[in-house]
Amino acid sequence: MSQTLTPHRPTAKPAARPAARPRRRRGSILGRIGLAVALTVALAPALFVFFWMLTSSFKQQVDIYSIPPKWFDFTPTLDNYRDALTRTPFGRYMTNSLVVAACSSLLGLAIGVPAAYSIARYRQTKLSLSLLTARLLPGVAYLVPFFVAFTALRMVGTYPALILSHVIITFPLTVFIMVNFFAALPEEVYDAAQVDGCGKLETFWRIAVPLTRPGMLTAGILAFIFSWNDFKMALILSDGDSRTLPVAVFNFVHEASLDWGPMMAYASIIMLPVFVLTLAAQRHIVTGMTMGSVK
């Protein structure tokens, strides 16, 4: 575990050659077919669920219930979307989700980036271990205190309560990703800054931060996604109009059970921003997730 937290200094070895796996035989037609089959098998379950959600969201009730299932041969309708958007104050929930995810990921960056820099530069293992504990603790274990405290402060249902609780999700994530980015900066960069008369804090702010902008983009996007996806904090700390989308769709189940069409429309809309962000920052996200080896 410590491996993922202690900064990885770039090794002295020459950059790894594109790993040639011994199995692979270039140009073998059988090998290519095998690869294609394996890829299909691997990707089919991942994508089928989303395919089924999307198609169902455009189906009329009859077509949703039809057995054998209608894969493509149905008349698409937008009724479910109209229903999902009008039956609940959708715009309100969307705003809540956006505000909470944006604020908590920015706050996560503001708190996490300096901490990550400090860990990477000064090898503060103890600090990183205490942050790791934050990652270990079951979220539910601090829900009771949060609920009690925020109720006492009359903050349940407010943005600050949700944003603060989400910082617990966003800031460890930021730290774990950024530690690696800061550690990857060559030592010479810092030396050069010092020769130029840069103070320590100045070096952080004017040299290290600009150089790791891609890392911050990755961390920010991932933090946004995980805050957007959060369900349990929002379930407890939001009510009425302050609900975020995942909680809103959950309540929708209770209010209209088995009304699958509108629910699939709702689910599709919720996931849309996440997928757009992921596709836009494809490469960064894979690196970010792999580097931190933390979700």
Binding site: W260, Y266, T278
Partner: protein
């Protein structure tokens, strides 16, 4: 700020330069403590948002309290003894262990396989990796709904697929014996990509020499995998398993949305049971005791696995 970079060489502590800019001086003082100043906000958050709540949970676990104006009543170890004799508590532990073993086992096997696959070079590899990652990035509460629909015994697509290959009609999440495996399938679908990503990173970092040696020795692909790849990868696989074990114990969203612990209590894991006691029935005291158990469970797993990893690293 701009002026500071152009200022003459920084004053040494012993011989201060004549009339340093006040700003410069303040910055110098701050600079001396930068290793404490930079992480300070993070530490404040950790204490306020994590240490304090955990402390409070432990405090509450020795009390009986249902909220309201009356203060928590100290009951000593009552909650502890109550949990030890609570059949539902032991049941929830058993269900947690069952769910976690099943889902993490599947994820590790499939994740390593997927990592080997996505490690190959082929056109569109980046895109394929991203698509494969979609389940772990998608909103769990919404995804859970889609699975709930697919699990439906009459209109669900899963039963149609099972039946069309000659399988029986399954009740999935309405069947007390099937509900945990069904939830494990959802968890595996969601989190196999994480195992894949971690193992993939491990594969990319492997030294090439052992593979070349294996080739020279004439080892086939399977032999190479078993004798070279797998031993070299095992520390990474353990890390992936550890991450997944810890998170699987804490699984909440999908269970809450898909079954809410049902049918009956057939899928009520410790996490869900504690949540219900604490936040649905507002038994803050007993709920907190269950949460302490949950936290201990997570830590025990973490410690055992860290030890295991330390051993594989040496070996």
């Amino acid at each position: 700020m701009a002026q500071t970079t152009e200022s003459p060489p920084r004053p040494t502590p012993k011989a201060p330069a004549p009339q340093p800019a006040p700003r410069r001086r303040l910055l110098d003082v701050l600079d001396r403590y930068d290793r404490y100043i930079l992480p300070a906000p993070a530490l404040i958050v950790v204490v306020a948002m994590l240490a304090f709540p955990i402390g409070y949970t432990i405090y509450l676990s020795f009390h009986e309290w249902s909220g309201g104006l009356r203060p928590p009543e100290f009951v000593g170890l009552d909650n502890l003894t109550r949990s030890l004799t609570d059949g539902q508590f032991w049941g929830s532990i058993w269900r947690t262990v069952y769910f976690v073993t099943l889902s993490v086992g599947l994820q590790v096997v499939l994740g390593v396989g997927a990592a080997l696959l996505f490690h190959q070079r082929f056109p569109g590899r980046g895109m394929a990796r991203t698509l494969f990652m979609f389940p772990m990035i998608a909103t769990p509460a919404a995804v859970a709904l889609v699975w709930k629909m697919m699990f439906d015994p009459t209109i669900g697509i899963l039963n149609y697929i099972v039946q069309s290959v000659g399988g029986p009609t399954l009740l999935w999440i309405s069947d007390a014996n099937l509900v945990i495996p069904a939830l494990a399938i959802v968890d595996t679908w969601m989190w196999t990509p994480l195992v894949m990503l971690i193992v993939l990173a491990g594969l990319a970092a492997l030294p090439q020499e052992p593979f070349e040696a294996a080739k020279v020795d004439g080892a086939g692909p399977i032999r190479t995998f078993v004798s070279v790849t797998l031993p070299l990868l095992s520390p990474v696989i353990l890390v992936a398993a550890l991450f997944r074990l810890i998170d699987a114990i804490k699984t909440f969203d999908i269970i809450k949305v898909i079954t809410d612990g049902g049918p009956g209590t057939a899928s009520e894991t410790l996490n869900l049971y504690a949540f219900k006691q604490g936040l649905s029935y507002l038994h803050f005291g007993y709920g907190s005791m269950l949460l302490v158990w949950l936290t201990l469970l997570v830590f025990v797993v973490a410690i055992v696995f860290t030890r295991l990893r330390a051993r594989t690293d040496q070996g």
